[in-house]
Each structure stands twice: as C-alpha cells, then as structure tokens.
Symmetry: C2
Subunit: 389 residues, 2 copies
C-alpha cells in the first residue's frame, strides 16, 4: 500500500435545506474538486455514503446519478451504506482503492436529506437501524437505545443519573459553544444548563438538548496518491490509519458503554497509524446523543472507562483542553445528515490540521481522528489523519 | 495487485421464498464458506450488495446484521448499492481489497427480498432506479424503459417490430430451456413461441414472457488471495478482469442500444484480462427483459451491433453454440432478486468453469464473464473469470 492523501474537501452548510441530496452532494463535491485544483474529468471513481435514499427520496443507483450530476462521466460509482457510518466507509474504500494503486484520484463523501419527511416518517426512517426482525418490532428507537446506554453507564460506573445528566448537559453546552463558531453548523447558538434541563424529556434520561437534530447536508473529499496530492496542493493531509468494524444488533452486545465494534475499529486504526490515543491532537466523534460522546471518549481511549464525563466537566475536551472533542460542534450542534456525517468529520479534521478553523481552531493540531457510529452500535469507521507538509 | 481467486460459492434457490433477506444471505454465505473449507472466523470482511433493504424490510446497516447472523464477528461489513449491479460491485471491491493485500479472505455477495410486497409497492420499489426528480415523475417504469430500448433498436437497425419480437421470444424460449435444467431457477419449465405471443402486453412491444420475474434470493462468493485459495480448494477460479462504470439517467444517454456505461465497463474488464470477446467461452448477462439480452450481446462485443437477435435465431447463444449466453436461465428464468443477481452470475460461471453444471454444462469452458446492469442503464459491473488449475 502506498501513501494516501486528501487533496481537498467540501461541505454544505448543515440544516433544513430546500434541496435534494443530489444537489447537496454536487455542491460539496465541486468544492472539494475545486479546492484540489482538479476538474471533474480528473476523478476516476466515486464512493458515496448514504443511508436511506430509497426511503427518503425514492432513489437507488444514487452514486451513478450523483456522478453524472457533476460531470464524472462513466466512472466507477458506488453507494456505500452502514447507516451513520456510510461516508466514513466510502472514504475507507477510497483509501484502499488509491493505496493499492487501482486508482490515483477518487472522490468520496456522503449526503442525506432527512428533513423533507414528516416527523413520524423521519422516526420510521431513522428506525431502520435496529434488527428489523428482533429489535424494531419491540418499538426500540435511537433515543431509546442511547437512553439504555446512559442507564447502563450510570449503573456500571456507580454514578447517579443526576450526576450523569449534568455531564451530558456539559457535552451539549460545549458542542453548542463550538457550533456557534462554525458557520456551517445547523445550530450556531450557545445554550445553558437551564436550557438543557428545561427541555422536554425524549427518552429518560435524554432530554431534547441531549439529542442531535434531523438534518440535510453533504460533504466530500478528494482522495489521491502521495505523488498526485503533493502536486495539487501545498497542504495535503495524509490518511495514516483506518479501521472499520461491525457487530450485530443490541441483543448480541454485552456492554453498550464500550461498543465492541468501536473497540475493534479504533484499535485497527491506531495500529495502522502506529499511534496511541495520547498522540491524537483533535477528534471529531459520534455525539448523536450526549451520552454517545462520553461513551466514545472512553472507548477510543481518550479517557479511562468511566471518566468520559469527568473529562468534560474538567474542560479536557474543550478547544484548548487536553483532547479537544468535536470542535465543529459535533452532530449535536453542527447537525447529522446521516450519510454525510463521516465525511463532514473528515472535512473538519482536515481543516483543523491546515489551521483553517478560525475561532474554533485547535492550535498546533498535527494529528486528528474521526469516529462514526452506525445503527445499533453496529457499524463503526475510524480514520486517523496527519498533516502532510 | 496480486492474483485474486474465488475459493467457494453459494446460492439459494431463487423464487418466492418465505424468508427474510438476512436468512437468505446466511444460507448462501454458509454454503460458500463451507465449500471453501473455511469457518466464519476466517473471513476478514463482508461486502454485501443490496438495492432496497430499507424500503423492502425497513433495514439499514444490513451488512453488519448479515455478518453477525453468520458469526463474522466484528469484521468490516459494508453494504454496496448500484441497483441491479449491487453485488457485482461488492465482488469488485472485494477483488481490490484482496488484490491490494489489505485482506486475504473476503466474503462478497448479495441478497434481496422483493416478493413480500404487494404488486403496486413492488412496482414502486423497482421504480427507484430512474432519476427521482427528472424521470420517475414522468411515470417511467423499467418495462417502459426497456420497451423504449426495443423501439430504438428496431429503428436504428431497420428491423420490423414483428421480427424483433420474434428474436426476443427466442431469447425467452432459450433461457427458459436453460432454466429448466437449473434446480435453483425460479422457473424450471420450457415455454413456446405461442406462450410468449399469447401472454399479456406489459409495455409494447414487451409481453409478459419478455420480462423477468420479481424474486427473492441470495448468492455469495469467498474471494481469496492466490496462496490462500490454492490451499483451500483444488478448483480455484481466478478473477482476471473487472470493470465498473456509470452514467446518468435516460435523459443523459444518446443510444439505449449500446449503453455507454456498459461500453466503458466491459472494455475495462477486457483490458485488465488481456482478452477479447472471442476469448470468452460462456457469459451470464443482464436479461431483465429479452431485449436487454440482445442489446447486451451486442454491447459486450459478442455480436456485431444489430446482430444480437440473429445470433439467437441461429443458435449461436445456445449451450453448445458459439457463445453460450445465460446457461443458468438468466434473470428471465432463474429469477432476479436484484441485489443477489451479480453474485448469482458469478456463482454460475464459477460452476461452469469447474464443469459442475450437469445438463446445462458448457463443455470445456475455461473463461467466463458476467454482466450486470443497474438502474436506467446507469450502473454496470463486469467480471471475467478463468479456470485456475
């Protein structure tokens, strides 16, 4: 495998957008291609993460239509799906396609449009993650799943729900504070502890402000070989480690506080990169619910298991802290257009490593990591990136 | 890229099956794993082609659930989607993953369950292929799309519709004759010219027997490096060429009689294999409608453009003919569970090259090819396989 770089990135604003997902992806993709000083005809393949285009827009063969839409005529075009991890997976496949020498320049990314559906349908659409035979019929939803995660976390570590809820609220406050500095975030406003605790209960102990929003959006990256990337840009970012792993549904997992797929995926990525958690300067991780950030911080090894909440309380995960988590605002404030999320995390880390993040810049960041969790903790992708210059 | 082989294959019977797609895939996958003299724990990744699991069964993260179902714990598991080409794409990615040395043993395949839906819903589900903004709203369906292909074919080559309809009927008769010799085919009965012409009109000039059925089923293959495959089996089959290409919807294409994505895809596959159409001994190609077989035969270079129908009439595409086409019965008689079709084509070619096809064996076949066409002629995968011993 040869060295693989990211030459350029693009991303739409996230939020409730009045455009279809092909148009959204086109915007992000053209930004990534332009930033790479390329033309569409230079791109040799497209891997496009998307979770539910068939349900949302009645569209399959999404990658072919998306390629055509931006003039990538007749390239290999593949949609990849692993729920929320869909576009992390797309980038991981692009990494192997380029690393192997099969292609030199590949476009990868993701898109999703979820706000066009009525709320009830959105809930049904989101709820395609659990095992459709054993789990969905029980009525389990994602808020319910992560509420169980919170209860299990409190019990395992002997923390009161009240204390855990405070930590969770601090995650929301931190990520909204970061999102307020991100012009592409869905929510760009700071919130208070009182806002969180006075919001409606969704699935105890998760209140409204513990939950990320339903969003539309897209993100894209140009993945290129070392030789090519260094000609295209003076700020290439190297992909130095990838990991992807899976598990079955909730009923197959013993401990939701350390999702087994994430344990495998992150260990693979660290091993490939030859790094440890303490070598990471900034991380974008999967905070679809506030408890999810605490669990991810623990599982990725940034905190001792059970200390993820204390780390938030101590400011260790703030921009400027020991390990800044979700400087973009995370899914919580930036938004979570499912299939776009993994690529949007890479977009943020690439810009952090380039020092282009303005008010939310993590100073001196040289190595960053992404983490995207799909379905019932059942599909996970991790990518480790490093300044290439 | 190192040499890549198929060590084992598995496939369910196709038809109206009373099982979910995870169970169907499990059956095919375990057959492929067992035939490869492996255990699930030996498999390092899963690529699973599937077109509409979200619409059909309300299931995303399908590959993770499918992996877990058969004990592939915590492997990289990815669903790939390119409509009918979904599992050809899965195998092509597996080819690169193994060829690059990233993995040694990968499971790839596909599954789909389409018969559980009422007919109207099945039509809607199938109709997710055309561009959802520019084409689906016009009311275009797949029968309509391929009917246009037939009209364009007749006009371009100066053939009367009556003559073309005879050729198309001969495709149906040939493929049913082959399917009658395939115990896994959905339809195992021979039909006559009279059966075809007395069947109901679906979309002129396509009558019922010009159309493949709605089906359930799954197929899987174990892809392995040369060193590994040769230890596992004394009949490994080598993947010597792959091609995959795309195009936009119908409105972006000038000539439906030579789909541009297939031109690109097949040329790539031939080039990688270092072969020409005349070097292929047997082909499984995308006969979702009878006209589709004639067009595919032309476009893949087995016949001069415009001669695909005459070749059928002369028996050139029969088992025993110059270039046997669809000895399995093809989509027309074997059935077409969308996401499974590409892998099922590979299943047939592998068994043809092994000489294991009994009454439908193409004698002495050493090199075979598959061809899968997805959506509005917009996603195509081709795979060329060769006897490895």
């Amino acid at each position: 495998m040869r060295e693989v770089y990211i030459a350029g990135v693009g991303m739409t604003k996230f939020g409730r957008l009045e455009r279809g997902q092909l148009e959204l992806f086109g915007e992000a993709a053209m930004d990534a291609i332009n930033e790479s000083n390329l033309k569409p005809k230079d791109i040799q393949a497209l891997f496009l993460g998307n979770s539910v285009s068939d349900l949302d827009e009645g569209q399959t063969v999404l990658a072919s239509h998306a390629a055509s839409e931006i003039g990538l005529d007749h390239v290999m075009a593949t949609r990849t799906e692993g729920a929320c991890a869909s576009s992390s997976i797309a980038i991981i496949i692009a990494f192997v396609m380029v690393g192997s020498g099969f292609f030199d320049i590949v476009l990868a990314g993701g898109c999703e449009r979820n706000t066009a559906s009525p709320t009830a349908l959105a809930t049904r659409i989101m709820n395609t993650g659990p095992h459709h035979r054993y789990e969905s019929p029980t009525g389990i939803t994602f808020p319910g799943m992560f509420a169980m995660m919170a209860h299990m976390y409190a019990k395992k570590y002997g923390v009161s729900l009240e204390r855990l809820k405070e930590w969770m609220a601090m995650v929301a406050i931190k990520n909204h504070k970061n999102g307020a500095k991100n012009p592409k975030a869905q929510f760009q406003k700071v919130i208070t502890m009182d806002d969180v605790f006075s919001s409606i209960m969704v699935a105890s102990p998760l209140q409204l402000y513990d939950c990320c929003p339903i969003s539309d959006g897209a993100a894209a990256v140009v993945v290129a070989s070392g030789n090519v990337a260094k000609k295209l840009t003076n700020k290439p970012v190297q992909i130095i480690g990838v990991g992807q792993a899976s598990s079955g549904g909730l009923s197959t997992q013993r401990d939701y506080t350390l999702p087994v797929a994430r344990v495998h995926s992150s260990r693979q990525a660290y091993k490939m990169a030859g790094l440890k958690p303490e070598d990471i300067d900034v991380v974008e991780l999967h905070d679809c619910f506030t408890i999810a950030e605490i669990v991810a911080t623990d599982t990725l090894g940034f905190t001792e298991p059970g200390r993820g909440g204390i780390a938030v309380e101590k400011g260790e995960t703030e921009i400027g802290g020991r390990i800044p988590v979700n400087p973009s605002g995370g899914l919580k404030a930036k938004g979570h257009p499912v299939g776009a999320t993994g690529a949007a995390q890479v977009y943020e880390i690439v810009n952090q490593l380039r020092g282009k993040c303005g008010e939310r810049q993590v100073e001196g960041a040289k190595v960053g990591m992404t983490d995207t969790l799909g379905g019932p903790f059942a599909s996970i992708g991790n990518i480790i990136l490093k300044r290439g210059w």
